[in-house]
Subunit: 295 residues, 2 copies
Amino acid sequence: MTLVPTLSTDLGLPVTGLGAGTPGRGRIVLVGAGPGARDLLTLRALRHLQEADVIFYDRLVEADVLDLARPGAERVFVGKHVGAHAWPQGQINAIIVAEARKGRRVVRLKSGDPGIFGRAGEELEVARAAGIPVELVPGITAASAAAAALGRSLTERGQSDTLVLTTGTGAADNPLPDCVRHAAPGTTIAFYMAVGQAPRITAGLLARGMPPGLEVQIAVEVEKSSQRLLRCPLGELATVLARNGVKGCALILATWPSQRPATTAGDTIDEERGSAPHLSQDPGQEGAMAQKVVA
Amino acid sequence: MTLVPTLSTDLGLPVTGLGAGTPGRGRIVLVGAGPGARDLLTLRALRHLQEADVIFYDRLVEADVLDLARPGAERVFVGKHVGAHAWPQGQINAIIVAEARKGRRVVRLKSGDPGIFGRAGEELEVARAAGIPVELVPGITAASAAAAALGRSLTERGQSDTLVLTTGTGAADNPLPDCVRHAAPGTTIAFYMAVGQAPRITAGLLARGMPPGLEVQIAVEVEKSSQRLLRCPLGELATVLARNGVKGCALILATWPSQRPATTAGDTIDEERGSAPHLSQDPGQEGAMAQKVVA
């Protein structure tokens, strides 16, 4: 018996908001759901789910996150699944305001942390323009979850004192992604939603002087049941992503250490990392350096 | 009645680890406690607190976080309070391994996210070297909590597509902190533990071309009962920190937008932000642009 099933099934919390809501108490709460597994929700996020009259939710990785909500809460999917109905941002903005104006307690449930690549700014703005109380509940962002799943730290005293979170995109007329200029010894870069940009990013990082043999780690669908963890030298990133069919929801981590001598092309990757409990050689990838999580 | 008191007082979870532990089941879990408020713990963190035989904890902002642990768990403070006993890192490394070797379930509870400026790397390394199973549980990092408290996003489509987390330190022989080179239009920088470095950081950012009138926000003791939120132009950062007696635990946020025209020295700060529910003019700071949270 663990806590999480208890919470989801029989906590017996008071039901505080039935029906159409009470004028004047309407509010909007942008809630970070974390990367997917429902036990990475915070207690604060849970409380808001249990107080909500209506929940507008993104592509939430593990569907049972919504089971934590108050049974009477209305649940509306507004996310972007492949092939599924997706709401334009303007329509989301309009409906959360309209619902709060009715006096309903609106939860806008977003993957990760709403403040990091979560487009929270637009929803905060429309709520404030409408005079509706709005609150943000932070969530575990994908870089933190990916590092934890990989069993590594994102910063390391004397080796990597700066962490850069970026999407790896840039102006179309720029031959290199804007983020490339952040690559330097002493820095860890976490690339969000950047799989499609991988060839361009790799070229940019190599042009910046990042060693092609440097280890890069990839957390695919982190904290979802489909989670996979891969690693390879920077120079093979695009190949490894393609060979493993990685698309969409993946986080790429690259640490360029400041102190230890940089590895160079052709160097063997430090295999000590492979002793981490989460990683092992992928038997389906003989000869490749990519590794997968053990199911 | 809210969920959190329920969890802390009468959940009645099974007590699974009394006494000296069972040989062979010893393990170490590095658990992120988030920024301070106990309702920003994740459900996973809570579960580990409730399964622990012994908990080694850092300076934890709200002491009642530990009330969430299993009543029978041993609690050992190893943090660095001003004037309080502090353990050297080597001693912490040694004792967590020794306790896990006895078969005890060790929780190492750290503020924020253990993977971001949390020295998780060293503890992971000693655990692995000793052959002890070790796991990381991510936590809400201070930048996410600060942004949520300030009611703002850390990224903004088209304005700030990259987020840099840094401590603002650098080699002693370098006149500028290493992080300064990350300052550029389109970037938000979050400075951790950088209050003492503020004059040096400000000089570096200004030298880099960041406009002195750009708004900087400061979250002091975020998500603790002593939380204060301040804002001021970049050029006044050091003065405002000193005037408000800000020391130690504060996060500084600076967004240099890529699209809108940069503000310049002497410009009035956009007062629209003041309409956020958390911020209001500080009556004790007439003439200053610093603002405080409303208690």
